[in-house]
Symmetry: C2
Subunit: 625 residues, 2 copies
């Protein structure tokens, strides 16, 4: 709580005031008796104000440098800000540097940033004079009676709710990062604008840390590595958002899939395969046709409508329904690496992470209410085991429950919800897993647990979901014969462990920066000769490795060994076996291990035992087991 007399002398890191809970400019005068707090730059809210003001600063610089530019909107975002600009030429990287320079200059001049509230007519007149047509469009859309506020710094004026920093002098540590296309109001029918991204921090160190992290993330970008390592491709002409798994990427996928299948079979899941199309009828019964239709692809066969399945559940339900199930047959767990297709706007597609076709590692558990908690525990154990095997060590867990105030929007009874939320909660507690409970965030058909895994850079990736469903059992009338002889509605749980193969492998590429552990590496070992004399021995070595089931490439070209090693390193191959005259003579290989460099001459058997040990232990780094 701020004492009123202190207000003249705010702390150095103050960004704004919070008066009776509402955040306002620092120079606002609180009404007597109001609760007043400082919003400082070390809070998320303070940081957002700093970035929002930096967006204004950027707009001011752009208008000075490019007088024809039209401003649209420029909000703070997760880790910075952007401003969408309409300009009849494309910004190039040099422009960003120029804009940044001008921003520094303007910042140093220390313009006070001042708020003004004006009426609609004045606002329209002001922006008409300035020729800012997007602002006029926005003013015209404001509801009658809404306060219209503008912010000024020097010559610059922007239509803005605020709040803002008190002076441009407070903006010191910022950086413009990139330009991308963005449709006005996000609508592909509108004009394409240019979005300049930037970020801003209160201190130099934080900015530099952020830029370094960005660089690290860029070096791990799965789209760049995917191309460089020959893992996957997207062909815009064949269709955006559709992944073609090249041999090496597909190899990673297949190893993950087999591991997944084997673990599911061990845990008594039953694998199935369903077709990718089904009559609309099936998705009308499931309800997807009504509430999900705009994301579904539709085709016609024999004058009947079919859909490309966006979900695997209705197909698995058909298999459940094929026989009368008794409580003795439950839990009945159907699992499938099921490929689904869902419409996404082309603007949001992103490498393997946001696509139009993807393979879910899907499963549906049909069980009795009494079995639900144990099933949830088993899924958590499976998920944890699998994710840890891939080197994910930290997780963020959310439990989404219903909003009791709005119960009529939910499927299922109050007892269903109470029991299933309790089952999820108890399962997490049994495994002593910390989680965040989010009220009212459950889907209408049931509560769920979402698990995010944190990667090597601490970024979160959507992973396992465990989701109760009270809707589909009712819609399909899914029953089992209980020990009492009656036919009861079955409990249905949807779950994925990896999410989708595309997103998961995309995530792995970034998590490992393309340097896959030996068990996952598309090429586990590369045999390289120093001169042609060693080719016969090299072939024998490669064949021995291959016969032992390892994935091997050879480089017997007439090239310098330094070049061969460099290429193998770029390909991030864990084991490099170099053979020169000396090695051939002693029947050994000179071994280089990824991340360790030259480890000297070894017998091939030793190298093979090392690789085998990597694979069997699923070691994260070669030789680490």
């Amino acid at each position: 709580m701020v004492v009123r007399s202190e207000l003249k002398n705010p702390p150095k890191n103050a960004a704004a005031l919070r008066i009776d809970g509402k955040i306002v400019d620092l120079d606002s005068v609180p009404p007597s008796g109001a609760a007043v707090e400082y919003v400082t730059l070390d809070s998320q809210e303070g940081l957002e104000i700093l970035r929002h003001s930096t967006a204004h600063l950027m707009a001011q610089a752009i208008l000075e440098l490019f007088p024809g530019a039209q401003l649209t909107i420029g909000p703070p975002i997760d880790s910075g800000f952007y401003y969408d600009i309409d300009l009849d030429r494309s910004f190039v990287p040099e422009d960003l540097k120029e804009i940044e320079k001008r921003m520094s200059k303007l910042a140093k001049r220390g313009f006070p940033i001042e708020r003004d509230e004006i009426d609609r007519a004045d606002a329209l007149k002001l922006f008409e004079e300035r020729g800012e047509s997007y602002k006029i469009e926005m003013i015209n859309e404001l509801p009658a009676g809404e306060t219209i506020s503008i912010y000024r710094q020097g010559d610059f004026v922007d239509l803005c709710r605020g709040p803002h920093m008190s002076s441009t002098a407070k903006l010191k540590h910022f950086k413009l990062l990139s330009v991308a296309g963005a449709y006005w109001r996000g609508d592909e029918k509108n004009k394409m604008l240019q979005r300049i991204y930037g970020t801003s921090y209160p201190g130099r160190e934080d900015l530099e840390k952020h830029l370094k992290r960005l660089e690290e993330a860029k070096a791990r970008d799965h789209r760049v590595l995917g191309k460089q390592l020959g893992l996957f491709l997207v062909d815009e002409n064949a269709g955006p958002g559709l992944i073609y798994w090249q041999p090496k990427g597909n190899l990673v996928r297949r190893v993950v899939e087999r591991f997944w299948e084997d673990e599911h079979i061990k845990r008594e899941y039953q694998l199935v395969t369903i077709p990718h199309i089904a009559r609309d009828e099936l998705f009308k019964i499931s309800g997807h046709y009504d509430f999900y239709r705009e994301n579904m692809y539709v085709l016609n066969i024999d004058e009947q409508e079919y859909v490309l399945k966006p979900m695997n559940c209705p197909g698995h339900i058909l298999i459940y329904q094929e026989e009368t199930r008794s409580y003795r047959d439950l839990p009945y767990r159907l699992a499938e690496m099921g490929t689904v297709y869902r419409y996404e706007r082309s603007g949001v597609l992103h490498g393997m992470l946001r696509v139009r076709g993807f393979t879910q590692d899907d499963a549906h558990i049909f069980c009795t209410p009494e079995q639900a908690e144990d099933e949830v525990i088993d899924v958590i154990d499976l998920a944890q085991f699998m994710l840890e095997t891939f080197g994910y060590e930290k997780f963020e867990i959310e439990l989404s429950v219903h909003d009791p105030e709005n119960f009529d929007k939910y499927a299922g009874t109050r007892e269903d919800w109470a029991a299933s939320e309790e089952a999820l909660k108890r399962a997490l507690e049994t495994r002593e897993i910390p989680y965040k409970r989010i009220e009212g965030e459950a889907a209408f058909y049931g509560p769920k647990i979402d698990i995010k895994m944190l990667d090597a850079l601490g970024r979160g990736w959507q992973g396992p979901t465990i989701q109760f469903d009270f809707n589909l059992p009712k819609r399909f009338n899914l029953r089992y014969v209980g020990s009492d002889g009656d036919r009861h509605l079955v409990v249905m749980i949807h779950r994925t462990v990896l999410g989708s193969m595309e997103r998961f492998v995309g995530g792995l590429i970034e998590h490992y920066a393309g340097a896959f552990p030996t068990w996952l590496a598309p090429v586990q070992a590369k045999v390289m000769t120093i001169t042609d004399d060693q080719i016969p021995f090299g072939k024998k070595v490669a064949q021995n490795l291959r016969d032992a089931g390892h994935r091997v490439e050879s480089d017997f070209r007439n090239e310098k060994i330094g070049k061969k090693i460099r290429e193998a390193q770029l390909a991030k191959i864990p084991y490099m076996l170099v053979i020169g005259a000396r090695e051939m003579e002693s029947g050994q290989v000179a071994l280089r291990v990824r991340g360790k460099g030259d480890v000297g001459a070894l017998a091939l058997e030793e190298v093979m035992s090392q690789i085998r040990s990597d694979v069997e232990s699923r070691a994260f780094s070669p030789g680490e087991n």
Copy 2:
């Protein structure tokens, strides 16, 4: 050659005459100097005449028994004949018996079967008087000037080209088999008729052999076994021709797939995965859009046309094209279990054998012309190895080559064709494989080898295809840099080994009559207890088997052991482990082996070693290795 004077006294098994190559009725008078031969009942042509005449006999019986019936067409087919009838009530099995009885009666009366050629007006008048509207429709569609022939036996007349047997007395050994729906002219927009199938043989023994084979085939029907054994289902409401692989069927599929993948990796194929949809553009380049469009499913995304892929080739081509390939990178072999969707009329769909969605075990080999022959040999070796592993021992091989008279309809140069046909031929000769060369049967884009495997009943199943393609490399401009530094068109070979997973597993079900070899069996062993006292020991036994990686079910119900054994036998489980008080005491199990019955008490280790040995050797029958 028949001497003219013999014609009065034809041999007993004569069905017709062949005069100057044309088959005509036995009582035809050859022009002087013509070449004359008997067509006898031991030839395929003779058999067809016998069956065609039996179809007439059936029609005659039907018209007597069901005076309102309308005849349409009644041809001989592969192993019998049918007649399509329009009648306002449904034929039931009892009707077939009645018709058969009447046929025997009519046959015995020995009506001469007589040909008559009449003009169009008389023909129309005749069938109008008889009220046969379908025949009138057919007469009206005959081109002007065409000879119109009718055949009479007793009161019965049919519009027919013939030829026919000389008397109904020659028809002795026939059997009516089934009734099915069939649209008039095969068009779903027309009226649904009733098709009665039957067969006919010159001798009783042949007929009985055929009926026995039919019974055997019926007992092996993959649709019946598929349901009985819980292997797969088709849900007409979710869409005809679309296979849902239930857990047990999917298990067989997965074992086959992994075997297939492993063998391909050993042989240096590279596995890939492509999406199921692509823009029409891709299939316009490939040409499929023009000549295959009516079989393709089309959908729209963002106002662009997409297709559900009917072929995997264009997708694999995109992967080939991703990099510049040198002759050193070839052969480049891309393989995928690729699911494709193709339209088939609902009338022709048949279980897993004729479907609308199927997974091809597809591969595309990109190579230099010099490498082609070795590649073909390797594919033949792979195919032979895989099919023999599944117990197919006999094959029928066809080499389809081009028709040099019509060269302009083909893609590729004369040199391409000569070289590739020679490569296919030499590959077959190198492996000393007998084959049938079929002139003019090649696809327009290249010659091919088709391999049919013969199953346990001697029936042929379409299996491997090795197909050259001179079309796609040109359309996509698929090149490689040769040792001369120039960019040459690559040689492309399409090939499948199994055909499709659906047809292949459907075929396996019939080949094994559902009794899968241990390595493929969905359930390899079943543990059964005689009383509840043995349940703890039974659980231990089941767990031991499971831990050893075997697929196990338990039956610990409170039921008689005879019932448990019967059910396990019906499920065609190879190993049945029965545990009673005696076994528990001695720590053994009483073993029953499929096809061998009770083999006495054994230590569990012995049973497990037997199962392991079955799996490792891929033995056809349990204990046979």
